[in-house]
Amino acid sequence: MSRVRVLVGTHKGAFILASDGKRQDWQISGPFFGGWEIYHMKGSPADPDRLYASQSTSWYGQMMQRSNDGGQTWETVGNKFTYEGETGTHKWYDGTPHPWEFKRVWHLEPSLNNPDTVYAGAEDAALFRSEDGGHNWRELPGLRHNTTGPSWQPGAGGLCLHTILLDPNDEKRMFIAISAAGAFRTDDGAESWRPINRGLHSQYIPDPTAEVGHCVHRLAMHPARPDVLFMQKHWDVMRTDNAGDSWQEVSGNLPTDFGFVIDVHAHEPETIYVVPIKSDSEHYPMDGKLRVYRSRTGGNEWEPLTKGLPQSDCYVNVLRDAMAVDSLDSCGVYFGTTGGQVYVSSDAGDNWMPIAKNLPAVLSVEVQTLA
């Protein structure tokens, strides 16, 4: 029978939640790396027992952990992240030039076919790659040296590269997103990049339709249709059908289109999920009701999913890397909250149950579907 393994990164350590394919009974193991922030953990699609975890604190900086046995044991690997070439500057909050400074890794994206190759998205925004299982990291400088790099400016959470999407049909194509620069695409294996933000409208920046400067919170892709991307922007839910050449808004009837997460059903490329958050100054759901919204039409028409989720006095947030889907026949959807809850729906969002209730604030959720 199939199994699932949910990898949860929190403000104070990592946890692994495991269940069989029914997804009713769960075992929680951890905390791993107690007291450290685990911004992200992810398993290799090529070897599900190979896991990577980004571990950091403001005190002792960045560490990188690797497991070869599905998280039972861990090995500290390389943590030397240095920018290639002339460091240069980006814009600081006040618009003045500010030198690029490495702070942490927000997101890890293992290669689709090689467990020793993994990409890391960093703050200050840069893309790194390791080809030896995390021991050595090298910046892919084409992104940062993109002509728009000096104009990038941090969002409230920092100048973070938080999303990395690998095109399963074209190993040279990759998408990334940066707060608050926007989305970018490479078609030549990360040698060169271009902004893909046409169609975005951000009224809070001087030029609302600028080439860069948009606070993109998250991108999502269905592997069967890598030219179709969905975006949760600071405000606005967007989609593109041409790999980012142009975007259109699909917020439709959402009660608020601010939010962080967005994801796609494993078997239905037009079924997408978001968690609307009241506003950028009130990082909690509207009316104290935690509601996932699902669109079965690729956006615009949304339905609230509430069964099993708290519908009163709930004021948690769901951060940008804290939603995932499994690939079982009945698609499972998972998300974690800043209140330390992890919820699962084993029927594509119709019904929800908590599988952890009292973890530290959840920063990221990934799920592995295991044979």
């Binding site: 107690g34 007291g35 450290w36 604190t57 403001s58 005190w59 002792y60 900086g61 960045q62 560490m63 500290t76 943590n79 030397k80 240095t82």
Partner: protein, 98 residues
């Protein structure tokens, strides 16, 4: 033998219990002790000071014999009591927040 006390998180990371004891050849400076510490425990590279510039991380502090050495130059000679193993070099994570 130089005695070094690590903060709890770094003891866990380095998989050590209690104090670390290091042989330091030549002049026993703060930098020499940190070099020896990182050589013995490579996982600590980058945790105390920058990989390249060797600048101390902002929230890491160094104390010995009730003196704060954090702002001293890295080539400062450690106190005789530390060199004689009577006192440890304390590496401390700064207390921050409320």
């Amino acid at each position: 033998m130089i005695r070094v006390v690590l903060p709890a998180h770094l003891r866990t990371l380095a998989r050590v219990d209690g104090e670390v004891q290091l042989e330091v050849s030549g002049e026993v400076t703060l930098e020499a002790v940190l070099d020896a510490l990182e050589e013995r425990y490579p996982v600590l590279q980058g945790a105390l000071r920058d990989h390249v510039t060797k600048k101390r991380r902002a929230f890491v502090r160094f104390f010995a014999c009730q003196e704060d050495l954090s702002l001293e130059p890295p080539d400062i000679r450690l106190p005789d009591a530390v060199i004689a193993s009577a006192e440890p070099l304390l590496i401390v994570g700064a207390i921050a927040g409320g």
